[in-house]
């Protein structure tokens, strides 16, 4: 089990993703604000952050947080970041693996919204090094 933080201003999406990730066996915290997320990280260091790009006050706030986390004096330099985005201005045609780099896209991986929740769980588990499990279908649980 890993401790995950979802940072996304869309609480409805974040709660849906959190529910599936929690079913996959992870402990999940949802933060809808960048400052709140940083404050929470300082109290407890997450194993992985699922991070949105665009926030209401800043179209690139997600990039900003990722860069702060990767800065030299940050205690979160090695926290894995899975970035989610509907669109962004820097890479308007969508990310590609070539875009992941230390400054512009300092993340471990990314997914584009709308996200297939099974793919989200699989990607999170891959980034955690197989430390999680596939989200078990609640219908299977009931059976």
């Amino acid at each position: 089990m890993a401790y995950l933080m979802i940072v996304d201003d869309d609480a409805d999406f974040a709660e849906a993703a959190a529910e599936v990730l929690a079913h996959a066996g992870h402990e999940v915290e949802v933060r809808t604000d960048i400052d709140q997320a940083l404050a929470s990280m300082e109290k407890r260091r997450p194993d992985l952050v699922v991070l949105d790009v665009m926030f209401p006050h800043d179209d690139a706030a997600g990039f900003g947080l990722a860069r702060r986390m990767r800065s030299e004096d940050s205690p979160f330099r090695d926290v894995r970041i899975l970035m989610l985005t509907a669109i962004n201005q820097r890479f308007p045609l969508g990310f590609s693996v070539n875009d992941i780099q230390s400054y512009w896209l300092p993340v471990s991986d990314f997914l584009e919204k709308p996200v297939d929740l099974d793919a989200l769980v699989e990607r999170v588990n891959t980034l955690l090094g197989g430390g999680g499990q596939r989200a078990q279908d609640p219908r299977e649980q009931r059976a």
Binding site: D10, D12, F13, A16, A17, E19, V20, H23, M54, A86, I87, Q89, P92, L93, G94, S96, N98, K113, P114, V115, D116, L117, A135, D137, P138, R139, R142
Partner: protein
């Protein structure tokens, strides 16, 4: 602003071609004197043009001077010989011109636009000083050479705003009046082109001098006023057109920004709906009845297609956003096309459509994202509009140093009356709507934008019920790099 590509139709009924258009240059900001000054590239052009004109004058003076060195040539025409003053003036102009040309080239190379107006001023002042010398030796009252000052007056009206052009005109008046005064006062010995110059006698009379000076100066001032008036009107209109063009470009950028934001605002809630629909389908909200599951699946399908449509709107907006030019790379078309074919094979197998490929190495220079977008749209169309059991054939290779690609299907085809409109946004033929209700109608508009941006020639030929063939001709790798630089 993105220029619409040229769509040509042939006399035969079944093909349409997109020709890459010339990139439209954004207008440069106006700089220099006054509100309605010329743009810098035009000013630089005039600098060079002035130098070329000066070579002609230099040549005429040199020829006259050389003729004067041959005994009897000018004398037979009643002209004074030798005419070494003409050779001297030609020499001065030649030296000046070499310097001016070198300076103009340096300014062009360094794009040092602040120095254009001083350079123009320097050239005009030097020319008028040399001209005053020529007028002196030719005779200020007995030839029409003093009218050459008018060239500079008119040029100043074209180059400069009103105060500066008036200054040039007054300077011309001052030089001419000073020359007459200097000759009248005996500071300069009166000279003439002609062996028998009546002017030498009448010049001694103050009324003649004054009358000549005043009439010449009046003519120059009237010419200045008229030329300035016309030139100002033309420049005012130019400035209005440039302003309108800037407004249009700004409006286009605003529209693009607005579209990006709107697309995000639409896509985010769709992502949330999509996520929550998945929760329902996976049973996180409890068991669903078969009817309930069917309803939720319908919601999921519509959500997916709407999300795809927003994505295509977004791609189109980004392609038209000229502030974001992606980096180009040297790509093997076979690799890019191969990757796209692998992506569409799954959709093809769902529809029982086979995708055959025959890909040979072919180098192109373009942004990978854009080329993929173009190819994916064409390949998806070929698969989606094929009949079950059909085959899509994909080929690429090099011909005449240029990369070519071909995508053929034996699907529903496009009839003649629809062919030339299929690249329009949201345009769908009735047959296409009947065959596939889920398309946004933006795919070929995206193809058109990418093709236009990177100089790719697209030829689409089709026959209803028999299939469609799309042929792509890419610019040569070096040419594409050049086009990117120009754009």
């Amino acid at each position: 602003m993105t220029q619409a590509p040229h769509i040509s139709t042939a006399g035969v009924d079944d093909w349409v071609e997109l020709s890459p258009g010339e990139p439209q240059a954004a207008p440069r900001p106006l700089r220099g004197e006054g509100t309605f000054a010329l743009s810098e590239p035009m000013q630089l052009g005039y600098l060079a043009w002035l130098c070329h004109c000066r070579w002609i004058v230099t040549g005429i003076l040199a020829a006259y001077g050389l003729a004067g060195r041959v005994e009897g040539v000018l004398g037979r025409l009643g002209l004074v010989e030798p005419a070494d003053w003409a050779l001297a003036c030609a020499g001065i102009l030649a030296v000046l011109n070499v310097g001016f040309l070198a300076h103009a080239r340096r300014l062009r190379r360094r794009e040092d636009y602040n120095q254009i107006v001083p350079a123009l001023w320097l050239q005009i002042i030097c020319d008028m000083l040399v001209l005053t010398g020529v007028v002196h030796f030719a005779g200020p009252l007995t030839t029409y050479i003093p009218f050459a000052y008018l060239f500079h007056v008119v040029l100043a009206c074209i180059f400069f705003a009103m105060p500066s052009s008036l200054l040039v005109t007054l300077l011309a008046c001052l030089l001419y009046a000073s020359l007459l005064a200097a000759e009248d006062q005996g500071l300069l010995e009166p000279r003439s082109l002609y062996q028998a110059d009546l002017g030498l006698h009448i010049r001694r009379r103050p009324a003649v001098l004054l009358g000549n000076a005043l009439s010449a100066i009046s003519v120059w001032l009237v010419v200045w006023y008229m030329a300035m008036h016309l030139s100002d009107k033309v420049r005012r209109r130019d400035a209005e057109l440039a302003g309108t063009n800037r407004c249009l470009l700004q409006a286009q950028r605003e529209k693009t920004r607005h579209m990006l934001r709107t697309a995000h605002e639409l896509k985010s809630p769709l992502a949330t709906i999509h996520a929550n629909v998945q929760l329902l389908l996976k049973g996180y909200g409890g068991p669903l009845t078969p009817h309930g599951r069917d309803v939720v699946q319908r919601i999921a399908r519509r959500c997916r297609s709407l999300s795809l449509e927003v994505q295509e709107m977004l791609q189109l907006a980004n392609l038209r956003n000229d502030s974001q030019r992606p980096d180009v790379a040297r790509l093997d078309l076979a690799d890019v096309l191969g990757a796209c074919v692998r992506q569409v094979r799954e959709a093809g197998s769902e529809r029982s459509v086979r995708v055959d490929e025959d890909l040979a190495q072919a180098w192109i220079v373009a942004p990978e994202d854009h080329v993929k977008m173009l190819l994916m749209n064409l390949l998806s169309n070929a698969v989606v509009y094929s009949h079950p059991g059909g085959t899509v054939r994909v080929w690429c290779g090099t011909d005449g140093g240029r990369a070519r690609a071909r995508i053929e299907d034996d699907g529903i085809g496009i009839s003649r009356e629809h062919l030339e409109r299929v690249f329009e946004e949201y345009y769908r033929t009735p047959q296409a709507v009947e065959h596939n209700k889920q398309s946004s109608g933006l795919g070929l508009a995206i193809v058109r934008e990418v093709a236009h941006a990177w100089g790719i020639r697209v030829r689409l030929s089709s026959r209803p019920g028999e299939g469609t063939r799309v042929e792509l001709l890419f610019p040569p790798p070096d040419g594409a790099a050049q086009a990117q630089g120009d754009a």
